[in-house]
């Protein structure tokens, strides 16, 4: 077989057996590879040693407040869509140290620098919605004026292996949000999993290096057609749709007194589940702890949520004391004011907030209800 020249932008076919080789190459290049694996009946992301640990043959059944992994016996590695976890936890960890303080011999506080963990990460199997979510968070944590040091320490060297979504989940609506089912640019490699082979698109120089030494085949018209057809069909098989999402900022911000807010407030438990599973929610709290001896103290960063009672606390009371105003803040921010802040919607259509809401609240239904109320 003739040597195939790999270059950024090129597309090749990778035999299924080559996936193990690809993983080995990532390991050899020093990456800590994180991949989807089954734990306690759900997909979680953790260090991936072998492709045998991938949830091959599984699918997930998802609906409002419903998530089931089902073994369906097919031979594909990446058919199962994500669970509650997203990749957010690796760049923006739920808990991280901001500073360690120590009193010196004069009693003055000194900041002890914490060495950031610079181990490069490889994310193995990022669905298009989650790739878009990473890009949304990039705009929050990597600004022109400052870069969040914790985020940047892991993000700058991260390798992203995206997987195009051939079997979308029951609660997702990435097609409506323009984030899937085909991955937008921003990956190092993207895979489309067909029954016989993977089609691999090389998105970056790092991606090309990882592919070096792996035997690949030229793509065939048959496979390319199967990919196009599969992804086109996937776009029509979304479990949810959200029409005209680009009109939502005006709709929401002009209707802050809609009756639907009262309605949803009767069902929402303000549990913050949606914000914890959301791959773009970025709110965080800074918390201090002090050692009892008074000589050391820590400042920590933890995930926060606009549903938490303390979130809007100022002296004299909370600015959003009720569930109604907290839910409204979440939804109007995510689908509305996010545009003004960061130039895009805060939603990537992954559907997690629908799947993991214990009260079966479905954002696509709520948004549609507000639209209908306003148009009525």
């Amino acid at each position: 077989m003739a040597e195939i020249q790999l270059s950024v932008g090129s597309k090749v076919a990778l035999p299924k057996a080559g996936l193990e080789k690809l993983l080995a190459n990532l390991h050899r290049m020093g990456y800590q590879v994180l991949g989807p694996q089954i734990q306690d009946g759900a997909i979680v992301y953790k260090p991936l040693i072998s492709v045998a640990d991938l949830p091959k043959g599984y699918i997930s059944e998802q609906d409002a407040a419903t998530y089931r992994l089902v073994y369906s016996g097919h031979r594909r590695y990446f058919d199962v869509t994500p669970g509650a976890q997203s990749w957010k936890q690796f760049f923006f960890p739920p808990f991280s140290e901001l500073a360690n303080y120590k009193r010196d011999e004069h009693g003055l506080w000194q900041v002890e620098e914490t060495e950031p963990d610079l181990t490069p990460l490889a994310l193995f199997g990022v669905f298009p919605c989650d790739l878009a979510a990473i890009q949304v968070q990039d705009r929050i944590f990597l600004r022109e004026e400052w870069k969040d040091p914790i985020y940047w320490s892991r993000r700058q060297s991260a390798f992203i292996l995206a997987v195009n979504c051939m079997h979308p989940c029951g609660t997702g609506f990435c097609a409506s949000m323009g984030t899937g089912p085909r991955a937008n640019p921003g990956f190092d490699l993207s895979l489309t999993e067909l029954d016989e082979v993977f089609l691999v698109e090389i998105g970056s120089e790092a991606g090309r290096l990882v592919m070096e030494g792996i035997s690949v085949l030229p793509t065939s018209a048959f496979w390319l057609q199967a990919e196009d057809k599969g992804l086109e069909e996937a776009g029509t098989k979304m479990g949810r749709i959200l029409p005209n999402q680009e009109t939502l900022p005006d709709l929401l911000l002009n209707n802050l007194d809609a009756h639907q807010w009262d309605d949803v407030a009767r069902r929402c438990m303000s549990c913050s589940s949606c914000t914890q599973v959301c791959p773009t929610c970025f709110c965080w709290d800074a918390r201090d702890t002090a050692n009892l001896n008074g000589l050391t103290a820590n400042r920590e960063r933890v995930w926060d949520s606009c549903f938490n009672p303390d979130y809007s606390y100022i002296v004299g009371g909370n600015t959003r004391p009720n569930t109604r105003s907290r839910y409204r803040q979440w939804l109007t921010h995510k689908f509305g004011s996010w545009y003004a802040q960061f130039g895009s919607s805060g939603c990537v259509g992954c559907g997690r907030c629908i799947t993991w809401c214990p009260a079966r609240i479905d954002v696509t239904v709520e948004l549609q209800a507000i639209r209908e109320e306003v148009q009525a």
Partner: protein
């Protein structure tokens, strides 16, 4: 955001949550539970170069307890030390209020937007403040005293709960001598109080406002702000000449932690000072 103003500032672009240390060099008691803390950076470059604009705030930090957003209440043209007037309210502020001269305090800043004084040149200024809402505007008063001829009439409408709670009382004479009119009211008088009783917005009834040429600066409890805006609009002051300083929960000052959002704005970087036209869609929405 990090508006460097071309000067050294106490925000590290690579470690934006890291405080810089200052020493408390003087404490001035203003009212019960309210004191002005004068701080000096330990770092020489910051001590000499730290600049801010009237209306901006710093994050003051006590290791082990946390950080709190406090506006700078001192003269922006005075060098070497910065003042914060702090009311003892939460954990951090009450701890600071128990501190002594020589104690060390962490500072990050300056953050946020400022009172647009350049746009006030040649205009009348009406300052409407309640309680701890006056300190964020005090840098404006210093500025006006240094550049009195740049402005027309300057009127301070100030109110507090009781006569005891009025801040900066020993400075009123200086302000008046500099040609600043000051009208004061309290919610509840005491036996010796001869002044006015009532909320701040009533002070508008005795104030002549030339709506064509007046800028309103207001800061205080949100309910007071709402009625000040009402009075200002009733006198046909246009919304873009009503400047409001808002208070929200803040953890970072960088527009990152999310707590201070009001609609599309992060109060910490897009505010705290807003012209009212920007806030108009949200001000009367309950609990927004």
């Amino acid at each position: 955001m990090i508006q460097t103003l071309g000067q050294p500032h106490a925000i590290s672009p690579s470690a934006p949550m890291q405080p810089y240390w200052t020493e408390i060099v003087e404490i001035v008691r203003e009212a019960p539970g309210v004191s002005t803390f004068w701080l000096q950076f330990l770092d020489k470059n910051l001590r000499e170069g730290f600049h801010f604009k009237a209306g901006q705030f710093n994050m003051l930090s006590v290791p082990g307890l946390g950080e709190v957003a406090i506006s700078i209440s001192s003269d922006m043209e005075a060098k070497h030390r910065i003042g914060h007037t702090i009311r003892s309210a939460g954990n951090v502020t009450s701890t600071i209020n128990r501190m002594n001269v020589g104690d060390v305090l962490g500072v990050r800043g300056p953050f946020g937007s400022w009172w647009a004084l350049d746009d006030c040149v040649g205009r009348d200024i009406v300052i409407a403040a309640g309680g701890i809402g006056l300190p964020p505007i005090r840098p404006v008063l210093y500025y006006v005293m240094h550049h009195r001829h740049d402005f027309g009439k300057v009127i301070v409408l100030y109110g507090a709960r009781t006569p005891n709670d009025l801040q900066f009382t020993r400075e009123y004479k200086t302000w008046q001598d500099a040609g600043i009119e000051i009208n004061v009211t309290v919610d509840r008088g005491d036996d010796s109080w001869e002044g006015r009783v009532g909320v701040v917005p009533i002070l508008f009834y005795n104030t002549r406002i030339d709506h064509r040429n007046t800028v309103i600066l207001t800061c205080g409890p949100e309910i007071m702000i709402r009625f000040v805006i009402f009075e200002a609009l009733a006198r046909r002051v246009p919304p873009d000449r009503i400047l409001v300083s808002l208070e929200r929960n803040m953890k970072c000052g960088l527009g990152s932690c999310g707590h201070c959002q009001v609609g599309p704005y992060f109060v910490c970087k897009d505010g705290p000072v807003f012209s009212f036209d920007k806030l108009q869609p949200y001000v009367n929405v309950e609990e927004f």
